[in-house]
Symmetry: C2
Subunit: 590 residues, 2 copies
């Protein structure tokens, strides 16, 4: 065994199951406290498990006695029992203090605020009355989110109050659920999540992912988050690490946050355990969130490098549906898809909305992963009313009253692999044949005007931020004529390969453009093609992408083959009909 | 569950364990017949398992009664019992006929030969005597391999006979092991292996991998095989599929083969089950060999695309060592390594050479994977006598008498990412600063002379086979002067990005070279840099590699930063000392 220590877990659901799947690989013994035959126990056959509810005092005591480290796969546990066993000398990770603070969402927010961590502004209700809500809405404004402090998950215990007429219905729904608090409305454009690992040596993080919720339940995660700059990605990781650093003990934490319209990040919620938004790590990263949790609580080595993304990954939850076997239809459909990894949790009977499994698709590019997952999204959405083509998500049919909704659509265009820039729109006609060629290879691109001389700052900003604005970018094509500084200046600002297209000016033969682009000083290369030859620039970009993308490489080889066949065909015709006839038939038409 | 059918497996070792790990994800029930607490049963808690030896008749009957499909994780089973239960109507996959034919290695060879599949030439001994061996060595030549027909694995049951003096010792060792046969010596340069999947719909294959054996036990597998052309890779897959097509039933098959000095491929051995050489598929492919086996025997969908490689992957076996915990030291060392996935099999007590686990490392390039695994290879080799620096492996200390050994060293230099070619060695001085720059970025490259005019065929061969000769290649740098056809001709033969360096001839300013390289027709691009500027060619290649390799991208960004700092430093000095003093201090020295 990789560790001599035995782990005891309160709860044996799907998170426990995936935890012990990781533990099995390391011969780490894990004892679960849950009902017999629970999800986790099905894949861990030994005598150390404890049967019964993880809320029972004696059972928790028994689990602690059998285990060297006690941890949880759910935060809705009795932290006073955990405190007791910790005081008896048992090792509880993360600390009961952490779990207690986090399980009360208002305390959680308050704790983060105390440590200066950016989070949604919150106010507790002194009493569950309309009068209180009137007072609080005066302070936080409307709309606002009304939330139960405890035992809330997957949107249960949340109510979005849009106008004053919602006060009464909101209290009718949540009023009986104990103490409530109100959160200022977060006008977010995207929800992000970061899995953080706290070990004895430090705080590490998995990549920033984008989460999409439906009916307040996580539906999809995209790793990395799409259309999010490197800076925001990094900032989200830093914020998540800062948040987790405020808590006691070791283990993985799921940190959910809002990315606001102004690029500000606010912590939404923290889970002191493996999290749905981290399932993708099983296939997506060298080490999964589950193995990371084990390494953290058992003081085994771990480093940031183990948590980096291997390939873009998309996770889709498989939820219980209307029929008891709806989720199995999804799983069977997934078997028919390519490059799809299926995880079923062995939870038996499905209830609508219950998490029964998930699927993960990894691919060399996010666009490929999106193409691979699309049939599955279509399948799970097959019975849903189609959303009307509206620009605002708030009117879409999937909106529920229990969660914040993004303030604007996150219309997903494929991520550009090539950025095509020009000094002036007069260069566009020269670029067009190249753009057509990129289209022919189905290579997504973006086209912009960034003049080196008339918009020097915009040019500099575009070129220097291009790799973070579009993490998918593989090359930049820059066209310019005359003094033709754009390709060279772009190359000065970016580490990406820059391909320069000399444009023939209205006066002169274009040699000025060619030499201005080609004769760069040592240290700053530009890949120069011949005058006005945007087609070759596009083909060069395609070769660059194909140098590490087998699909594109294959298409390029086909292009070479087609091009050869075309010339061979012409040669055959020429030989057959003789050059004089050929000239009449074909060349005179040109 | 993804399938309603229950699987029954004879044997519950590590292959069974990894099989059920895949089955658990799909909620497929698997019953194992093996001792209680065996490796596979540890991760599958239910009442359907059968305790006892997988050689016991009643136990096999009981397993069959409880299962819809019966399969094996080891071929050393009683095929007469399997035949019996198949005749009773039980579904046995692959067929008992397949297992019976394969478990007798001589029958296996004979069967392949009958179907015209290339395999090592073999002759059975009529009696285990020196006289027989004299006769057979007359036909097959010496050296030859003497092998037990049955129950041989990991080199046990093999004896390499080099001279006639080995006849007696060979018979002393193997003579008691039942029937023997002799194999013609295969003068191979490499051992390859392919996992093949036979389903109701067809025969599919995982990539071709390179296997390295030590003391006749598989030590390492490299996926894809290093330094093997695309053609040979494909040919190996085809041969493996052809071989498996000759057998009955469904499931995965491990096909081991020799790549001879003349690039001929010969089947060495086939295993009718998941195989050590396919462990890498767990992390390396969208679907593992284990899931593929389940899909095949349960008639679930599967396609070739699911079996493609996600990233280059290296697998290292963890074997039992001198001490009972030697293998745990290896696992603990592996925990300290980065991006390392550890698999321990739960087999308890180690014996020397027993397979206790394995580790897999995946990385975006094979060179990165090699760098990551190296400390682990060094660790498992820590007590081995260091091999002397000899060119011939046959004299190395790891050679044993129980296996064929490669005929020549497979000296591993890092795979080149860039090929640098020139029309004439007179271009080398111009290229040297560029080569130095590639070295600075630790980018492996290869340098060749391929004149377009004096060696047109060699130039064409080099350029057209470069992507298969060096699957790692990301770009070609081609230097030429005067008519300067090399870069354009290379581009005509390869789909890789070609960077052209115009070389200034002894007469003229080099504009002839520049225009000849740059002004390519539409359809065949060359990335042209300025005259003699091999440094920019190298930097452009680095940008191309960095466009999909974060490590190189990071280095390039550092290079840009350093270069900026250098100029800023000069500017500061210039401002401080004034231009006159600066010119005296710095420029006069140049």
């Amino acid at each position: 065994m990789a560790s001599e220590k035995t782990v005891g877990v309160l709860g044996g659901g799907q998170l426990g199951r995936m935890l012990v799947e990781a533990a099995n690989l390391l011969e780490i013994r894990v004892n679960f406290l849950d009902a017999p035959g629970s999800s986790a126990k099905q894949v861990s056959a030994h005598e150390g498990h404890v049967d019964g509810s993880f809320k029972r005092r004696e059972a928790i005591q028994e689990l602690a006695n059998r285990s060297d480290v006690v941890t949880v796969e759910i935060e809705h546990v009795d932290t006073y029992m955990l405190e007791e066993i910790a005081n008896e000398g048992h090792d509880v990770q993360p600390s009961w203090k952490t779990i207690r603070t986090i399980q009360d969402k208002y305390d959680q927010k308050w704790h983060l605020k105390k440590f200066g961590v950016a989070t949604t502004e919150s106010l507790a209700l002194e009493e569950n009355t309309v009068k209180q809500l009137e007072k609080i809405s005066g302070e936080l404004g409307l709309p606002l989110m009304l939330k139960s402090k405890k035992d809330a998950y997957d949107g249960r215990g949340n109510y979005a109050i849009k106008t004053k007429t919602d006060f009464k219905p909101a209290l009718d729904v949540l009023g009986a659920k104990g103490e409530l608090y109100a959160e200022k409305w977060a006008n977010f454009r995207m929800e992000l999540a970061v899995m953080v690992v706290k070990t004895k040596d430090g705080v590490f993080s998995f990549p920033t992912v984008e989460t999409l919720h439906e009916d307040s339940i996580c539906k999809l995660t995209y790793a990395p988050a799409r259309g999010v700059s490197k800076e925001i990605n990094k900032k989200a990781q830093e914020l998540a690490k800062q948040a987790v650093s405020c808590f006691w003990g070791k283990g993985v934490f799921g940190v959910e946050m809002f990315l606001l319209m102004n690029d500000e990040l606010l912590i939404n919620e923290i889970a002191p355990r493996p999290h749905n938004s981290g399932h993708y790590t099983i296939e997506g990263c060298p080490i999964s969130q589950y193995e990371a949790h084990l390494r953290a609580i058992l003081d085994l080595p771990l480093a940031q490098e183990d948590l980096e993304l291997r390939e873009p990954s998309i996770m889709l939850n498989i939820l219980g549906g209307e029929a008891p076997d709806s989720h199995l239809l999804v799983a069977r459909k997934a078997l028919e898809q390519r490059r799809t990894k299926i995880h079923l949790y062995g939870k038996g009977e499905a209830r609508k909305g219950r998490k029964m499994g998930h699927i993960t698709v990894c691919a060399p590019t996010m666009s490929q992963a999106e193409r691979l997952i699309q049939p599955m999204i279509d399948f799970v959405d097959r019975d849903k009313p189609k959303p009307s083509f509206t620009l605002s998500r708030t009117t879409s049919t999937t909106t529920s009253n229990t969660t914040n909704t993004p303030a604007e659509p996150t219309a997903q265009t494929p991520e550009p692999l090539v950025a095509v820039i020009m000094g002036s729109d007069s260069d566009l006609p020269v670029l067009q044949p190249g753009l057509e060629m990129l289209k022919k290879f189905s290579i997504p691109f973006t086209v912009r005007i960034t003049s080196a001389h008339r918009t020097p700052n915009w040019m500099a900003e575009f070129a220097s931020t291009a790799p973070t604005t579009y993490p998918s970018l593989r090359a930049i094509i820059a066209a310019a004529g005359g003094a033709a500084h754009l390709p060279g200046m772009a190359a000065a600002y970016t580490p990406l390969p820059v391909i320069g297209v000399p444009v023939k000016p209205s006066i002169g033969d274009g040699m000025d453009s060619l030499l201005s682009i080609c004769n760069m000083p040592r240290g700053v290369p530009v890949a120069t093609v011949s005058i006005n030859n945007s087609v070759n620039a596009a083909l060069l970009a395609t070769r660059i992408i194909g140098s590490s993308d087998v699909e594109i490489r294959g298409k390029y080889e086909q292009y070479m083959q087609d091009s050869m066949n075309e010339v061979r065909g012409k040669d055959e015709t020429l030989a057959r009909m003789g050059y004089e006839q050929y000239a009449v038939e074909f060349l005179s038409k040109k």
